[in-house]
Each structure stands twice: as C-alpha cells, then as structure tokens.
Amino acid sequence: MMQSATLPANVSEIAAELTAIVGVKNRIVDPAELRTYECDGLAGVRVRPLAVVLPETTHQVAACVRIARRHGMPIVPRGAGTGLSGGALPVAGCLLVVLSRMNRILAVDLENRRIRLQPGVINLDVTRAIAPQGYYYAPDPSSQSVCSIGGNIAENSGGAHCLKYGFTVNHVVAATVVLADGDIVEIGSAAVDPLGYDLIAAVVGSEGMVGIVTEAVVRILRVPETTRTFFATFPSTDEAGACVSAIVAAGIVPAAVEMMDTLAIEAIVKATGVDWPLDVGAALLLDVDGTLAEVEHTAGAAVSIARQAGAIEVRMPKNDAERALMWKGRKSAFAAMGRISPNYYVQDGVIPRSEISTVLREIAAVTAREGLRVANVFHAGDGNLHPLVLYDARVPGEEHRAETVAGEILRICIRYGGSITGEHGVGVDKAVYMGELFGDADLETMNFVRCTFDPQRIFNPNKVFPTPRLCGDVPGSYAPHAVETSGAAGRG
C-alpha cells in the first residue's frame, strides 16, 4: 500500500530550518531521494516521510526535534532500517530522524565491562572493537552485521544467544535520550543500580515511542573459555522438539538452540552451499559455552541426549571456520527464502518451549488449508518461532492468504499462552493483535509509560497500540498537523 501526504505549504521553510541545523548534505526533502526511506525491513508497507535528517550530534537531534515540534510534525526515529515490524516505517507528514551517521564508539571501559557508543554503531562492530581483548557484546540478532544499536534498543532485540545471556534490555545500563520537547535527559547509570524507577526498561523496547536515544552505555561480556557447537538432524520436528526439552530437563542451559525444518534447510543449502542433508525433517544447531571442563561435560551430555531422542546424525565442527559456517547458514535463513519462494511473510510468535511440536503441527495445518507452504527456522530454546509463510505475490489472492495464515499463527501462539512477538517488535505489523494478547486496561497502563515520556504522542504515532490512545491531560497546546485533520494520518 502507498500513502501520500499532502505536503504543507511551509515545506521549504521546514527544509531551510533543518538545513541550518544539520547542513544540506544531511537533510533530504527531494521526493525521489525520500523513497529510500519509505519503508524498513517490513517492505510491504511504504509511506514517504515529509523530510529526512541524518544528524551527527545529540544537540542536532534535539534541535531537529524542536523544529518538527514547532511545525506539528510527527517524528519517526530510524536506525539501520532492518526492523521487521515497521517500527521505522514513516508516518505521513513526519520528520524521519536517521541515526546512521552517529556511528562512533565513544569509550571502551574494559575494567568495568562497559562500552559507550552512539546509536548508529552496527551491532557486530561493537564485538569487533573489543574482540582482540577477549570481550563481546551478547545480543546477536541475525541481522547483526547490518543492524544498529539504536534500533536494537528501540526493539529490545534478541538473537540466538539471548537464551542464556538475555536481551538488549539486560545489557543496556545507561542512555542519553532526546525527549519530545527537545530536552536531553540521561537515564540509568554507567555504575550499577541507579536510584528510582527503571527508566532503562521503559526506553528499551519502546519501539521509538518515547524519544530518540543518542548515546548508550552497554555491558560487554568476557568471551567464554570454550564454545562447543553441534548440528543434529532428525526425522521430524517432533524428535527435534523432544530433544530440546530433554536437554533442558537434564539441567543444561545451552547458549543457543536453533531449529530448522526441511524447507528452511533446503533454502539455506541453496543459498549458502552448506553441505546439510536435504532428506531430513528437522535440524538443531546448538551451542554450549562456559569453562572447558564444564562444557566438555554438557556438550557430551547434550550429544548423547540428541542421539537418544532419535537424531539421524550429529556433526561437530572441526574448527572455528566450520563452526562459523554453520552459524552463517542459520543466520542467513531469512535471506535464503528467496531461493525457494518469491515472497515470504515472517512471524515472530513465542510459545512455551514444551509446546513446540504441537504448535508446529497446528501451523502446518493452517498453512496447508490455505494452500501455502511454511518454513520454520527459529529459536527453539526459548520457544520463539519464526514461521516463514511462503507465497507468490504474482498469484492473485496468495498474499492475502499468507497474511491470513500469519495472523492465525499469532492467534495460535496466544492460545498456547505465548506472545505475538519475541524480538521483532509490534510496530505496525502486529498492532492489531495487541488487543488479543492484552486487555484494554493492560494497554492503558502501558500507555502510561509512553505518555510519561511523550504526552503529545509526537514520536512514532500509530504504532504498537491497536487503537488510538490519548494521554489524558495533555499539558501545553498542540496544533494538529494538516494531514491529521484531513484524515490522512492520525496519532496514536
């Protein structure tokens, strides 16, 4: 779908004001150039922003926020634009604030295991900067070579290894945030246990609705002494699911447990050339890490559990290069879907781990009913599914059926006591399902948090919440934007 905003007459005035702050090279208003920013990783929905800025300092961000505010423009923050739920999707008439040029690592503090950085730093570059000293940054979304820390903070990004090490929210200790009035606030503490409410928890995962993070301090971890990886194939996802449960029941906390089904394996093999067998029903990729003696025990135990659970084959990489290749296969899974389907729709539902086999069967049944195929590649250890509903947009009706299936999958997850999103965020994509997962009073309470930071709902309106929500006693005066009164866009 494509929305077009009626450009207000004062667009050149806005452009001039923005230019005065960020310079002409960091300001975009030309409609053709703006197209680059019409969507994020949720490529099916496009909205052209009114203007884009690429600020280089916190003060520039604050000044741009004030300009937008003065002109009644909503603001959408954007990192690398890899998000899969439309969190960085522009809203009509908005100022899109792109943080990719604020990409410097500001201070590495190995002694306190902290690193201070700007939001545009690429996730993997954090680890690259400290790997020579034997440290790493734990959250590892599959897009880690292109996604940025600011986006990770907005979405509370996870990744394969958050099973053991936690999500972005467990690793951010302090942040500098530009608020809706252009004020700059420091939250959290580079030391430990800041006083008062946990504002870090309010900002991490806020999906761009509370402000713009322009600096953050994150924890870094010592690289474990040993990591053992193994890849095991199974006749079906039933045995693979039972294997995961048995490993957990044996008291082992793996660093990561990833599952891939036949279709996912096929796509990965075609795209990356890894020599994985195509005639299996499922595969697990599993990491255990820790001290050498501990890992020798747990890896050995996990391998024998896999065999008992009916593994067809268990492979162990001979060296780091082989291990890296296995993980590259897994992390390229989404991109690999192009090899087996023109289009796909990815979901991110979560279910209790013990229900994996049952839920996968239900998903398969729903997909078959609509005459479509589904590939599964997901974080089995924490029950975070990524069903990829395959379709061909050129075939009339398929896209719609894929959307129907994707929605049904989320309802299945809710029915099993799970969640509609484990790491991709709600954004615009899943906002409609929030009302099925949470009650009205729950959503109202969450809105308290948003309104605490942004009472006039300037930042990322119309995301996350299923229906427009006001903030009650809005202080100060607020003039609705022309596109709002015309009905082309609302605020949420």
Binding site: D109, E111, N112, R113, G158, G166, F167, V169, N170, V185, E186, I187, S189, A191, V192, D193, L195, G196, Y197, D198, L199, A201, A202, G205, V223, V248, G251, V253, G290, T291, L292, A293, E294, V295, E296, T298, V350, I351, P352, R353, D382, G383, G417, G418, S419, T421, G422, E423, H424, G425, V426, M434, G439, A441, D442, T445, M446, V449, F453, V464
Partner: protein, 411 residues
C-alpha cells in the same frame, strides 16, 4: 526504638511511626482489587506489606489509611517445569517457592536474606538480590511477567509466561524496585534455573580492598564463572572472601582447582569450605544485622577506592559492624549499631559524597534511631531524570495514594 514496620509484622498497626487506620489481608486478588477500588472511591492512602523485612527502605509513608498485607496471597498460580517458568502470587515467600520447585530439580536463582519471611512481591518491590547476582543477575533479569492491582483497583498485566517477549512496554521490570508506589504486585512470573549438580565454596582470609580488586580482575581474566563472589568482615578488620562455583561436578572441581591456583598467584591461599549454605548464610547474617543498614554501589573498578573512602570510615563509625562486598559488581552492604548520631551521620554523608562523586550511590536500607534517621536522607542526590519518575508516578497514581511519600523524592 521507634514504632516501625516490625511492629506490623508482630501484629502492630504503625508503619514507621505512621499509624495504619485499618489493616486488611485480602484472601485473593479479586478481594485485593476490591480493597483498592474502595480505597480509590474514598480517596484513601494504601500501603502494602509482605514479609516486612525491608520496610525500613525509603521514606516513612506520610499517610496509611489501609495497610494491605499479602500474607494470604500465597498461591502458585502455574508451574510448568518443562518450560522452567513459574507464576506465583505476591505473598508467597521465597522459601516456599523454592520448596515447591526443588522436587523438579529447579529453583529461582535468587538468594536474598530471610527467605522464610520475605515474599516475592516484597522482593520485587524492593529490587532485592543476593550473592548469586554475580551469575544470574537480579529479579530484573528473572521476572518475565507481572500483574498489578492499580491505584484504581484495575488488575492489569504486562509481559507474560514465556521468557522471550517484546510485546508492549515492560511493566514487569518497572515493578522491580517500585516500592509499592505503582500498584500492588498481585502475581509475578519468573524464569527458573536448574538446581546445580554440584557446588563448591572456597574462602580466602585476610583480604584488603586492593586484594578484592585483584581477585575480581583475575576471576574475569582467567574466564572463571563463579555463581557468587563476595567478601565479608566484622569491624574494620580484613575481609574473608568467598567464591562459589556451581554446575556439573567436573566443571565445579575444575574451577575450584583453578581458583586455588589463582589465589596462589596472588600470594594468598584459598581453602575449600564444606558447606551447603555458604556464602548466602554469611551474606544474610551481615545484611540483616544491626540497627543501621546501608547499601552502596560504584562502578566495579572503583571498589578499592570505595573501600578506602566509604566502607572503611563507615565500619569505624558504627558499632559491631559487618560489611559485605560484591567486588565484581561494585556493590557493598554495611550494617551495625548506632552509637553516636553525630559521628555516624557525618560518616554516612562523607561516604555518600565519595560514592556519588564516582557515579555511584548510597541508600539507607534501615535506620532505627529516629535522631539518626532525621539526619540521613534515605536516597541521597536525586538523578537528573527524576522529573520523568515523577511523571510516571503521576500517570499510575494520579492522586498520590499508593505508599505516599515512601519512594525516591518522596513520591
């Protein structure tokens, strides 16, 4: 001694000198919700109490019309061993929960003092943690879902019962450390950990601040993964450092041997201690001791400076002191008896100035002496983000009736 919250625990009716007009113990969450709805209609102030072990934390409430005790909210709502997740009501004690989980070989990886008395709701509200924080983090890292009874009586929930979930704002983490100022913690859902197959504690006697810093550095440099590392002392003497390794037997033995080598390399010696409770019992004894209890935090690298400028002077000012330090985390607890208001007040002020200068803080967990309590602010300097906290409180509790005055800044 002032009429304090222990009074409530013993059946009394005052909260740190503020009399409670009525005391209620709702039988279930629906009843608790009705209590809050009624209080809202009447404009009454409500305070909550679980085990009452940390009621000395924060300011005394300015008004308590209804004191809601959670002692009957003790159900295990749902326990899914295969998913390592449990949902409990807020009034369940930590020990009762652990007893429920142990037959399945699982536990909540939290080892706070007074587990027989302290409730999960209270532990969340006070942001409590114990020595195993080194390995497992705080309740912030273990909580995955919460349901609150709001100031208006509405029961709301956030998070869920799966460990990975980014749908909506993170109400569970906001509840951690909120001191009953946002709502009653009705239920909470936690991720669990397997009980370890083996554990080994080791003790190193005679450590000073520099030695603690050196042990911290070496533990990290050598990639050891202790479940806990803490130091304990009485008076202003040298510290005994304790390290705890947990896991599978082979791994624990290996780490214990490597720690012995580490100690030898630091010209010290580590002695294995055969105990199922170390170092949590040492931690509990010290942290619950005395009539003055303080908690300090700095960046871990500043631990030796904190010892020199804050912990040492505090240990000398208080009588019969105990000090606990978590060196790798930069956290310390100092407890003891008040034997002179003036000297202690100025030692606390000096210690606070020193840790705040290093981006740290000093909070009062309890001061029973009224004269001393008047001289020492419970929290110290407000963070620059306090205005956001005030706004958050106003959104959740617009008429300021939940534990009024108790939280940071008198919220």
């Amino acid at each position: 001694m002032t009429a304090d919250l222990r009074d409530v625990r013993a059946g009394g009716s005052a909260v740190r000198g503020t009399p409670a007009k009525s005391i209620l113990a709702p039988a279930d969450i629906a009843e608790a919700s009705a209590v809050l709805t009624e209080a809202a209609a009447r404009g009454e102030a409500v305070a909550f109490v679980g085990g009452g072990t940390e009621l000395g934390f924060g300011y005394p409430p300015t008004r308590v019309d209804r004191l809601v005790k959670t002692e009957r909210l003790t159900r295990v709502v749902e326990y899914a061993p295969a998913d390592l997740v449990v949902e409990v009501e807020g009034g369940l004690t930590l020990a009762a929960l652990q007893k429920h989980l142990a037959p399945h070989g699982q536990r909540l990886a939290l080892d706070t003092p007074h587990p027989e008395i302290a409730t999960l709701g209270g532990l969340i509200a006070t942001g409590a943690f114990g020595p195993r924080r080194v390995r497992y983090g705080t309740l912030r890292d273990l909580i995955v879902g919460v349901s609150l009874v709001r100031a208006d009586g509405a029961r709301v929930r956030g998070g869920g019962k799966v460990v990975k979930n980014v749908a909506g704002f993170d109400l569970p983490k906001l509840a951690v450390g909120s001191l009953g100022s946002l709502g009653l913690i009705a239920t909470a859902t936690f991720r669990l950990h397997p009980l370890p197959e083996a554990a080994q504690a080791l003790r190193v006697a005679g450590c000073d601040g520099a030695a603690l810093a050196a042990f911290s550095r070496e533990l990290i440099a050598r990639k050891l993964e202790p479940a806990a590392f803490l130091a304990h002392r009485t008076a202003a003497a040298a510290y005994d450092a304790y390290v705890l390794f947990e896991g599978f037997a082979a791994g624990v033995e290996d780490q214990a041997a490597r720690f012995e080598a580490l100690a030898a390399a630091l010209a010290s010696s580590a002695e294995r201690v055969a105990s199922a409770t170390l170092p949590s019992n040492v931690d509990e004894e010290a942290r619950t001791h005395g009539d003055v209890r303080l908690r300090l935090a700095v960046a871990p690298a500043d631990i030796a400076l904190m010892e020199r400028d804050a912990l040492g002077p505090l240990a000398r000012a208080l009588a019969e002191t105990r000090t606990i330090v978590y060196p790798t985390l930069g956290i310390a607890f100092v407890s003891g008896y008040c034997n002179g208001t003036e000297a202690i007040a100025s030692a606390v002020a000096e210690a606070r100035r020193s840790v705040e200068a290093r981006a740290g803080n000093l909070v009062v967990l309890d001061i029973r002496d009224p004269a001393l309590a008047k001289r020492v602010d419970p929290f110290g300097t407000l963070p620059s983000s306090f205005f956001l906290m005030r706004r958050l409180k106003e959104r959740f509790d617009p008429s300021g009736r939940l534990n009024p005055g108790r939280f940071l800044g008198g919220l």
